[in-house]
Symmetry: C2
Subunit: 419 residues, 2 copies
């Protein structure tokens, strides 16, 4: 696409986003159910498109130009399709995040301030090989009244196109649903244009590996919601229960080692009496242990764990605040006072006590759907659900009220929260 064309497209998305802001919950849910239905009815066509992508991927894998893991993520089967469709139905059942009254306050008699949740505007989504992301993100955008420009991985281009065609067809059939809420783009240049259109795009959400997220964060002034690294820590305190420690550390390292919320560094208090038993249990579980300082910076995403002995709770906190990527950390301790200090002083999106770091997840938190996990320090942090796709506006209702009356002392504010 030429840059001018992209700008035109982004402008249309912005315009559509203003229309989307006023959509009723009923219309949005009707659109979602139409999408679910149309995906079901067109599954065969989507599988066909997916086969095309798979056979092209296989050629690249045979040449050694693509990893086998990409093939697996790319592949849509009946199960994934069913999950995809159910995911959309689930989102239709979630509470509408738009139009909620977050604050209602009387400023003076008959002068009422309301803080109302509203959509952000235009989301730019850049994702890698998993084509099921398209329907999930589209559904989240629709439910939160945002417009979205999607750029998928080139490996899944046929599948993405077909899924988007089916989604658009469903939206066209939904009477009253505005045009241009969803747009798909395809080229590397489009990504470049997207990252530069801070006039029309309000938030970028990357879904993919570290290098994708890092590249995006370094190349845009648009706010980016996500996380690059997931260097999570577990601190086993002096008073930790050895059985809990074993259960939790093994779960956090081995249950799904490539997850961003898997533990990467284990800190052990020097006075913890069962250190050897803990390390032996990890080795038995197939975990390789590394004891060098270089390992403190590494996200292994594998059954490899950095281990460091610390002399105090304070040293553990300082180590984490220095080396963590701000994702999720846990303390294992029977000392409630230490747990409280740790949870207060550690500056990460998730800080847990006697729990596996693997719980950091929107579904496990009960958010119903997840856009991703953010390590940002502004807007949204941790697992982000529909709420993270909203902001708010302030409404005031009055009856001819002017500021001069208050500046001149004729009237006085009597701030009082209502409802």
């Amino acid at each position: 696409m030429e840059e001018n064309n992209f700008i035109e497209l982004a402008k249309k998305a912005k315009y559509a986003s203003k229309k989307a802001a006023s959509l009723s919950t009923e219309l949005k849910n009707a659109a979602l159910l139409n999408i679910a239905k149309n995906l079901k009815e067109n599954s065969d066509k989507i599988f066909e498109a997916n086969k095309k992508d798979l056979s092209e991927a296989q050629i690249l894998i045979d040449k050694g130009e693509l990893k086998q893991s990409v093939f697996n993520r790319l592949k849509l089967d009946e199960n994934k399709m069913r999950d995809m469709i159910q995911g959309i139905i689930d989102i239709s059942n979630l509470e509408d995040p738009v139009g909620k009254t977050l604050l209602k306050r009387q400023l003076d008699d008959g002068l009422i301030l309301s803080k109302i949740s509203c959509p952000i505007g235009v989301l730019g989504i850049i994702f890698e090989a998993r084509p099921d992301v398209i329907s999930q993100i589209s559904a989240l955008a629709i439910k939160s009244s945002n417009a979205v420009i999607l750029k998928g991985g080139k490996e899944s281009v046929n599948t993405n196109k077909e899924i988007m065609r089916v989604i658009q067809e469903a939206l066209d059939k939904t009477e009253g649903f505005p045009k241009n809420i969803l747009t798909q783009v395809f080229s590397r240049d489009d990504v470049k244009y997207m990252l530069s259109q801070d006039k029309y795009i309000d938030l970028i959400i990357p879904r993919g590996g570290n290098s994708l997220v890092k590249f995006i964060k370094e190349n845009t002034k648009i706010p980016v919601l996500g996380h690059a690294d997931g260097i999570c820590h577990i601190f086993v305190d002096e008073s930790a229960d050895i059985d809990k420690a074993k259960r939790i550390v093994i779960d956090a390292k081995t249950q799904y080692p490539s997850a961003c919320n898997a533990v990467e560094t284990l800190l052990i208090h020097q006075n913890f009496p069962n250190k050897e038993e803990l390390l032996a249990s990890l080795k038995n579980a197939g975990v390789e242990l590394i004891f060098t300082p270089e390992s403190w910076h590494v996200e292994y995403s594998d059954k490899i764990l950095a281990v460091k002995e610390v002399s105090s709770l304070e040293e553990a906190i300082e180590h984490i605040n220095e080396f963590s990527s701000g994702h999720t950390e846990a303390i294992i301790t029977e000392d409630l006072k230490n747990a409280k200090i740790f949870m207060n002083a550690v500056d990460s999106a998730g800080v847990y006590h006697n729990v596996s770091t693997r719980f950091a997840d929107g579904f496990r938190y009960g958010f119903g759907a997840e856009v991703g996990i953010s390590t940002n320090k502004t807007h949204a942090r941790g697992p982000v659900g529909l709420e993270g796709l909203t902001i708010y506006k302030y409404n005031i209702e009055g009856n001819g009220d002017i500021v001069k009356d208050y500046v001149d002392g004729l009237k006085k504010f009597n701030h009082r929260n209502l409802g």
Copy 2:
């Protein structure tokens, strides 16, 4: 300052911010009251430093190199000093924005998720000639447990240095208060380094004119909280009450024309019967009216008002969503349905009904203190109080809980909000 030294300073601020996160409300308030006391006791020294700045400014004004308005903003008198000190005492009386439980949810029996408000980290504040900003921002940062690096205008350098010395002296006297929470830098190079240190600085807040804010937004990847333009609109609907219309538009344009929430464009419905009366009243109030399309883009900050006739509510909404800077807009109408459509469809931080746009202000909203007004679409929008200087973290308390049990189906989540 050399860039290396700035980085060292930013690193120390980051470290300090982690300490600040755990400060008790009592200690923070004690620090604030110590600052207020010390400012009172050192007023004379501050006035002396201010005189130095004023006489240097006067030389530049005589040479025509500085505007008289800068002199006025620069000048500290007894009144401003009293307000400054009272402002700090007021902030000590506000609710602590840190450590609030925003959500408490049972994920499963004995597995409790809490969403707790916490500070953002390190704020970079860049402000122009008003030296009273230093104490205000320092107080807001302390109350919200953030560290801050301040860069003031060069015209007020002596005043800023003396105020900061007095503040630091008060903090040094406050037992247990960590070092390096507040740092001041002075050069243009320091601004450049500040904008590039996204590793250590979490949020930039510019306080100053449009060109300062625009420059900053264009030259950093750190989130910026603020607004460049304030192109506010009032739409006078067909059914508007002429008396309310006159009161509100005159207030919004003339009560303080250089304020960012002053109206800049007046849209009038073509069927509004009292158009001539409204325009005549504006002229009587000394307002110059402009009827050219070029004026729709301009923030006059003066008694000048763009006027446009529109044929419908929809045209008014579309005009605003295209030309507004997203700050504050109002509709004047006796038609509640139209008011509702307008407030829903207009995408600005403040959208009012029968009220002057000049109400867009943190004190008027009852926030007690204001960092500034944001036109961002993420994090914080509209007048930003202490809450805008916080984010949150998720805590989970458990008892050896692991994800494997849930993946294997041995356990099931029973999400339920508590308290």
